[in-house]
Symmetry: C3
Subunit: 325 residues, 3 copies
């Protein structure tokens, strides 16, 4: 899939890219590099990265022509892939991604927006006052958009959706029958950067937000877009007010998530998960199907299917009840 939201400014010659990150490697052919992707999705003439042994199996099959990696991982790359050795794999990956996708670093306002009355949607969509719509937005049949809302360029909204007032949506694909209530911010860049004294280096955020059919998002919630993968809210999942979903989080189908719950980045939820109010889910966790998480819990490790947990840190619900009698 071509990402409709972030324009690839490439191709770039490999030596141009390396010069920008202050790496010098002798005897490289000056190939054109067309894109940067993860190990799995990259193709010939693209550059990828390998920074953890978790991904060595994927590395063996990558089709990328170049790979940023450290000395100890280079042996996992196929012959068709030239290793670029560095001790700062992720920082250099971010810097090269920034060269390809400079717009993904900061989230300045969309300067293509027009008042909806000046667009094709006049007469086709039910809409309130002062609504701004960016270039190339698509909105399906029978949708409603509240006052002062902003739909930025290239956003795609399906049929029968209800968007509240004071909502901001960017970099997102919204399927059918989705309700997004007032004052939500959907598709903002994630909280990702390399700490650096006096001036952090922002990590490019070129993923998007995908909201599947029949989802409801409560007032004042924020859903950040993915960095290199996407943030996904599964079918018929309902979120209450003031929820925060960080970048790359993937939530399954038929989940029920109460008010003020927060997700750190890159966690995955199964289907039919219920989460009580104010619970927090740490980053990079895997929560199974049919899991129930009590209100106020702090989840800091993976949870298998069909578990009920509560507490801070979250533990088996029966233990939590027994310990707190």
């Amino acid at each position: 899939m071509i990402n409709p939201f972030f324009k690839n400014t490439g191709p770039y010659k490999i030596n141009f890219l390396l010069k920008h990150i202050n790496l010098k490697i002798d005897n490289l052919p000056d190939d054109k590099i067309t894109d940067i992707k993860d190990l799995n999705s990259s193709e010939k003439s693209e550059i990828t990265f390998l920074h953890s042994k978790k991904y060595t199996d994927l590395a063996k099959k990558t089709k990328a022509s170049y790979c940023l990696t450290s000395e100890n991982f280079q042996s996992f790359l196929p012959d068709s892939c030239n290793a670029i050795i560095t001790d700062k794999v992720l920082l250099h990956t971010a810097q090269i991604t920034k060269i390809f996708y400079p717009d993904s670093i900061t989230d300045d306002y969309d300067n293509t927006v027009k008042d909806i009355n000046e667009t094709e949607f006049k007469g086709k969509v039910n809409f309130g006052k002062n609504i701004l719509i960016g270039d190339n937005v698509k909105i399906g049949k029978n949708c409603s958009i509240g006052h002062n809302s902003i739909i930025e360029k290239n956003v795609n909204i399906g049929d029968n959706c209800s968007i509240g007032s004071n909502v901001i949506i960017r970099n997102s694909l919204i399927k059918n029958n989705v309700h997004i209530l007032d004052a939500c911010v959907i598709g903002k860049k994630g909280f990702g950067f390399f700490p650096n004294k006096d001036s952090n280096f922002r990590y490019p955020q070129i993923g998007i937000v995908i909201i599947e059919d029949n989802v409801e998002i409560g007032c004042g919630s924020t859903i950040d877009r993915g960095s290199l993968s996407n943030t996904i809210i599964g079918k018929n999942t309902y979120l209450d007010n003031q929820i925060h979903i960080a970048h790359n989080v993937k939530i399954g189908e038929n989940c029920i998530i109460a008010g003020q719950v927060g997700f750190a980045g890159s966690s995955t939820l199964g289907n039919n998960v219920m989460i009580g109010g104010q619970a927090g889910i740490s980053g990079h966790l895997k929560i199974g199907n049919n899991v129930q998480i009590g209100g106020g819990s702090g989840v800091i490790k993976n949870i298998p299917d069909n578990s009920k947990v509560m507490g801070y840190p979250a533990k088996d619900l029966k233990n939590f009840i027994r310990e707190n009698k």
Copy 2:
């Protein structure tokens, strides 16, 4: 009181209503039903519901002509009330409520709003730019409304109120000397629905928000309206920023509630209650008068008058301190 916010589309014949919920009961007279209410407030020619033994005493005195209930509760109804037996009392109550009040299911924007300059309030209210006011709004003397705020139809605001910027108010009665700070969303539908694979069924939310005299609501707070009863904030209660109050919550007078506190649905607070930042109050609880709840606490059971509690789950403050020495 006639609810000014949700138009009753009835009356409907009882057989029409039953057909819509796929119930068939022989030999019913085809009476007109004028409204659906709880056991206590319903009148002759109205339909009510009884789903829990907690309410059997109220059931004995109901004036409703019909009552959705299960087989084991029907004996509590007076002779004047016809039992409609179902094993899905709440779902069928919701479905019939939706027939009477279709606008209470979704919260599409108010399409009656006009720029405040085109309304009677020009010259009578102090107001900023880009303010939208719905039909039949009432605003008292000496009020101030900030930029970009939206006051939807039928909202009633008393004297000497200050409404911030980017505020959205709907389905609410605001008394006198109330301050609502920036970016609040007041009166949105509550988070109520029957879970249903692939497509949940939303519960009608026909209650309102009542904010009594001298209340202050901090920035970015959300107060949901009631489902069948109302959400109430008592006199001279002050709420800090980013607070979430779910549907049907009733907060007493002179309470002080710090930032990021969250309330699940239908809990009741007494007067003079103090709650520290980020505390959470579970649903359907009764918190007494003069209670103090420490910051970060998770309250999961009723709290008697004059108690001081802290912890997760919240316990007597002295115990919390002793255990954490």
Copy 3:
């Protein structure tokens, strides 16, 4: 520094001020009082206050001509300073501050704002639609302001700043390279008042918000201005979404604060502090340099430099891990 945000309506005669707070002191010369400040910064002809023995050393050196204080502290004042004895030092300080700075009590909208197209910034700043700018705002080079944002009077924004959409900024000094993402409310009055049955007395909030170079503030965050001192976010500190910072909080440089964290008033953070999501910091605490606070923690006491803590209440991280094995 003259506070550019709150107009001093003085000078007032001392007997006029005392009459307003129902204090009568015989034989006072009817001096003009030009301002009210803390012990340290007040000058001749100004009034100050002393309510705690923590400040007796400062009291000895105050240059103020008058000081509100209680009987037991009056001996700490120099001869040049007349003690005004009261048993309600803070309430009377607030009441006199309100006389000098009546605009600091409530936060009505700024009625000086104009559409940015009618201002000097047209052609000089990159900006979206429907932006409102108050009198005497300063904006540096190469800034970007998103749709529907409001910059109230006297706000000062440096160079290379990016302000999102639906943002409200008042009473703030924003330095260079600062990014404030969508839907933030910066500079609102703090949550400060004297509880009083039926009608609380609001404490004047005449401090400001200072945001240093290279800071990022995530979506939907609220940063309240100081009451008598300022709220400060240090250089290169990054805040995630939905964070609440109460009045007078001072955050150091290079801090990283994850989503939904909350700070109660007047706490101080050192440099290089990392705080996980949903943690809460109580009021009036001192958190040292290089401290790491785990997600969901509740910090209720001071934390020395270089500590790692987690838990509710927060304790040494190693203890938290051991106890939760």
